[in-house]
Structures are given as structure tokens and as C-alpha cells.
């Protein structure tokens, strides 16, 4: 069943056409990784899906409902949550308060404070700590927990592994498997291509705002991905 359907989405970043006529579909329960070089439009796509950047043209449907013109806070109610680039925790709030902000809209679903604490067992002991005192990996976990508490159908994660130690990244991807198992669909932006190929059901490579390669990781060769990633056309090398 199709959860997310994007048709001809164009988003401008000032004068720059950051996302250019992009179309893609996502099935319920799958993990789609968006890869691409810096400035390929990955983050802008996620921000547009979360309602932070307004699209110039195109449509976005979530579970058959047109949400193209929804502001960010209404998309949370509709079932989209974004873990933003750089985690963006509320720095004057404690860990638990940060998590609870995610529950503000009160969308029903499997995720509660207890469920998030079960997913990240270190959290309950430090729930009264200020969010600013956490390490990068811990902050990323809290940011994911905060997004989960809104019980999203579609979880968007921007730059999941950026700036984190490999062991932490592995742990967070382990958690992502549990999250998807609980019925959430995940759209992740990942800098680390090999990581993305390992965890995703499908990958989609962006180049200058356009999708240049899409498919299942097993069906794509390293060479294909490399060419798409760097924008090398046939016969150029």
C-alpha cells in the first residue's frame, strides 16, 4: 500500500532549484534511503516533506491525502515526523521534556515514553538531565525518540550518522530496525553510502535535485551508484 506519493516536486532555496521535479513513492513499512553528494537537495526534500520549506510546484500525498499546503504542525497530526539535521534538541529542556514535546499533538500509536525508554535503555537514568549535556549520539537518540512520540506513519531522518562514531551509528541503526518493525515507515538521508545500502530496502540517489538512480541495494552495482553519486554520464570517463 502506498504511504507517500510525491509528484513533480520542485522546491526553491532562494533562486536555487534545490529539488527539481522529483517524483517518488513509498510503500508502508519500508526503509528508503536518499543518498547524494552535498547540495544534491536531500535535506531540502526532507524539509519540504516536513512542511518547513514550501514547494514551488508539485504535490505530496500521505496515505492518499493531499498535504502539499499543510504547515509543519499540521503534518505532525497527519503523521509525518522529521529528525532534523543537527538533532536540534531544545537546549533549556531536560531529556524527558524534549521527548514529551513530541507527544504534544497526542497522535495515538505504539510509541509512548516507556516504549522509547525501552528502545534506548540508557535514557531513563538521565531523563532529568539537560539535553545540552548529552553526547552527539545520545542527542540523536533523543531526537529520534522525540519524533517517535508523535507516533508518525512516516519518520524522516536527516543525516542520521553525521558526526557520530561508527559504534554509535550501528546502535542507532539497530534501533531503526525495531522502529520499522513497530510499523513505522522510514525515509532517511544518509551521507555514508555503504551504510545506506546496508540498511535500506530501496535507495534513491539525488543529483542536483533530480533522482538519477533508484532501486534495491542488491540490484545496484557499486559502479552504477558511484556514477550516479558523482554525476558521471556514460562515455565521459
Amino acid at each position: 500500500m502506498t504511504l507517500l506519493s510525491i509528484r513533480g516536486l520542485t522546491v526553491h532555496h532562494g533562486l536555487l532549484r534545490a529539488v527539481d521535479g522529483l517524483s517518488l513513492e513509498m510503500e508502508r513499512g519500508e526503509v528508503l534511503a536518499i543518498i547524494g553528494a552535498n547540495g544534491a537537495g536531500k535535506s531540502t526534500l526532507l524539509r519540504a516533506l516536513a512542511g518547513l520549506d514550501a514547494p514551488t510546484s508539485g504535490t505530496v500525498h500521505l496515505a492518499g491525502r493531499d498535504i502539499t499546503r499543510f504547515p509543519a504542525h499540521r503534518r505532525v497530526s497527519a503523521g509525518i515526523a522529521l529528525v532534523p539535521e543537527g538533532r536540534r534538541l531544545f537546549r533549556s529542556l531536560t531529556v524527558e521534556e524534549n521527548l514529551l514535546t513530541g507527544a504534544y499533538r497526542g497522535r495515538p500509536g505504539p510509541w509512548s515514553l516507556e516504549a522509547v525508554y525501552e528502545l534506548f535503555p540508557w535514557m531513563p537514568d538521565r531523563r532529568r538531565q539537560n539535553a545540552a549535556q548529552l553526547s552527539g549520539g545520545e542527542q540523536q537518540s533523543v531526537a529520534i525518540g522525540r519524533a517517535l512520540l508523535s507516533n508518525p506513519d512516516l519518520l524522516l531522518i536527516d543525516e542520521l550518522s553525521l558526526g557520530l562514531a561508527p559504534v554509535i551509528v550501528r546502535r542507532i541503526y539497530g534501533a531503526l530496525r525495531d522502529i520499522v518493525a513497530a510499523g513505522t515507515t522510514a525515509l532517511i538521508v544518509e551521507q555514508d553510502v555503504s551504510q545506506a545500502m546496508r540498511v535500506a530496502d530501496r535507495v534513491n540517489c539525488l543529483l542536483e535535485g533530480r533522482s538519477v538512480l533508484a532501486g534495491r541495494p542488491a540490484e545496484l552495482s557499486a559502479e552504477q551508484v558511484e556514477r550516479a553519486y558523482f554525476g558521471i554520464r556514460d562515455g565521459e570517463d
Binding site: 516536513a50 518547513l52 509543519a72 504542525h73 505532525v76 497530526s77 515526523a81 536540534r88 529542556l93 514535546t101
Partner: protein
């Protein structure tokens, strides 16, 4: 004994300053709006109460109970109709809007009520007092004002830390965009913050009106007290605002003890000293 008396009176006055400054601090903390009409709003509340009393003959406490929620509604509407539009144009635009509002309010008051100096008659309650110890006499009105201020600040603190909407206010203050991402409609959150600010400034205005006289041009000179309390205490901290108000009140009261002409100057000097040597305020925090 005189000095202790001065400290006690200053402490009680400080509670009123804190109550008055809370709204200014809250609006700046959540929306980065410096509300230059803050003092005038207090004066508008005073005149409104005056008109209600002379028009309906209702007792003062009923008028207070009516005026404060009315101001909360006015605050919500002011934010949605007047301030929200200017927010996207940057801090200078909001500053100009509130400056304009301040001038408009003063002139409307002048038009309706003339430039006469008024007071709100609090009856026997406003003038009666009791002996605390020795030569220290405490007026009921200052004491009740102080307790009311503490209760209101505690109430706001509980709202901010214990409720979902309160958390969203603090979250929006930290990072508006991310607050939107977790489901906060910033227009509503800002409306609520302004509603609280207006309600507290109305209450403070009524308390001011019972203890000293006011006229349509009193607002700006009151505004400076709120600024001083907020800056002395530390921006964005509720308890800092209470501390700032108390420091300001005690300083003014001690200044008056030395020489009545020193009252305001003493407060301004402490304000200046804090700005020069501890610009983040005595209690630098970000709870609101």
C-alpha cells in the same frame, strides 16, 4: 529599625515590580518582542477599571476579576492580529509596532479620560496596615500585592514546566522551527504567551493604580521599572525577574531613606551597575 523597615517595604514593592515585569520578560523570551507598550497597557487596565467602577458601581475586586481575563483575551487577539504579521519582518518591525501601539494608547486615553491624574480607590484595604514588630508597619495592600505576585509567578512556573502547552512555550523560545516540527502552531503558542503577558500586566497595573496616581502619560515611566527588573534579574528567568524586582524595590526604598529625591536614581544606578558588570543578570537562566 528605619533601615529594616525600608528593606521590608522595598521587598513588598519588588513583588509588584516583578509581577509587572513578568509579561515583558515572557514576550521577549518566547517571541523576541520588546513590548514598548507594556507600561501603557498597565495604565489602560487602570483606566478601564476606573471606568467600570464609575459606570457600573461594581466593587473593585469584581472589576479586577473581570479586567484580568479580559486582558488575556485582548492579548491573544493583539498577537494574532497586530504582532504576528510584523514578526516575520524582523525585530525592528515589532519594536516599531509596539512603539506605535504605545503612542496610540496614550492618545486614546488622553482623548477619553483627559490628562487629569487619577487613583483607583481601594477603600480601607488600601490604607490599613498592621504592626509587624517594633516600628515596622506593613500595609495590607503591599503585602497582598506581594503574595499575589509570588502566587502568579509560581502559577506561571507550574504552567511552563508541567503542561504540554507550557513546554511548547519553552520549546518555541529555544527554537521556533523545531517546535513547529513537533507540532506547535507558533501563532497559537505566541498568542498564549501574549495572553499571559497581558493578564499579568493588567493585574500589575491595577495594583499600581491602588497605591499611586496615574494619568495617560504614566506608561513609559512605568515601563522602565519593568525593564530594570528584567535586566537586573536576568532575561528569561521567572525567578530572576522576581529577584530583579525585589532588588529594584529594596534599592529604591533604601535610596528614599537616604533622600526622597534619590528613590528612582538609586534604582537606575543599580540597573546601570548590573548592565556594566553582570550584563547577563543576577540569575541568568532560560526557563521561559
Amino acid at each position: 529599625m528605619q533601615w529594616i523597615n525600608a528593606v521590608v517595604q522595598g521587598l513588598l514593592l519588588g513583588g509588584l515590580y516583578a509581577l509587572f515585569a513578568t509579561g515583558l520578560s515572557l514576550m521577549f523570551g518566547v517571541m523576541r518582542i520588546v513590548n514598548l507598550a507594556h507600561g501603557d497597557l498597565a495604565v489602560v487596565a487602570s483606566f478601564l477599571a476606573l471606568a467600570l467602577i464609575s459606570g457600573t458601581g461594581l466593587p473593585l475586586w469584581v472589576v479586577i476579576v473581570v479586567t484580568v481575563p479580559l486582558f488575556a483575551v485582548l492579548g491573544y487577539l493583539t498577537q494574532r492580529v497586530l504582532l504576528q504579521g510584523s514578526l516575520s519582518s524582523g525585530p525592528l518591525a515589532t519594536l516599531l509596532v509596539t512603539f506605535g501601539l504605545s503612542i496610540v494608547l496614550q492618545n486614546v486615553l488622553l482623548e477619553i479620560f483627559s490628562a487629569d491624574t487619577r487613583t483607583l480607590d481601594g477603600g480601607a484595604f488600601a490604607t490599613s496596615s498592621f504592626q509587624l514588630a517594633g516600628s515596622i508597619t506593613v500595609g495590607w495592600l503591599p503585602l497582598v500585592t506581594f503574595l499575589l505576585a509570588c502566587a502568579v509567578l509560581a502559577g506561571i512556573q507550574v504552567f511552563l514546566s508541567r503542561t504540554g502547552l507550557g513546554r511548547m512555550l519553552r520549546a518555541s523560545s529555544d527554537d521556533r522551527e523545531t517546535a513547529n516540527l513537533v507540532g506547535a502552531d507558533s501563532r497559537h503558542v505566541y498568542g498564549v504567551a501574549t495572553a499571559i503577558a497581558f493578564a499579568t500586566v493588567a493585574l500589575a497595573g491595577l495594583m499600581f493604580a491602588m497605591r499611586s496616581s496615574f494619568d495617560p502619560a504614566t506608561g513609559p515611566s512605568r515601563l522602565i521599572f519593568a525593564f530594570e527588573a528584567v535586566v537586573i534579574g536576568g532575561l528569561g528567568s521567572l525567578w530572576g525577574t522576581l529577584l530583579g524586582g525585589i532588588v529594584l524595590g529594596v534599592t529604591q526604598s533604601l535610596g528614599a531613606q537616604i533622600d526622597p529625591a534619590m528613590t528612582l536614581l538609586a534604582g537606575h544606578l543599580v540597573f546601570l551597575a548590573v548592565l556594566a558588570f553582570r550584563p547577563q543578570g543576577l540569575l541568568a537562566g532560560r526557563t521561559a
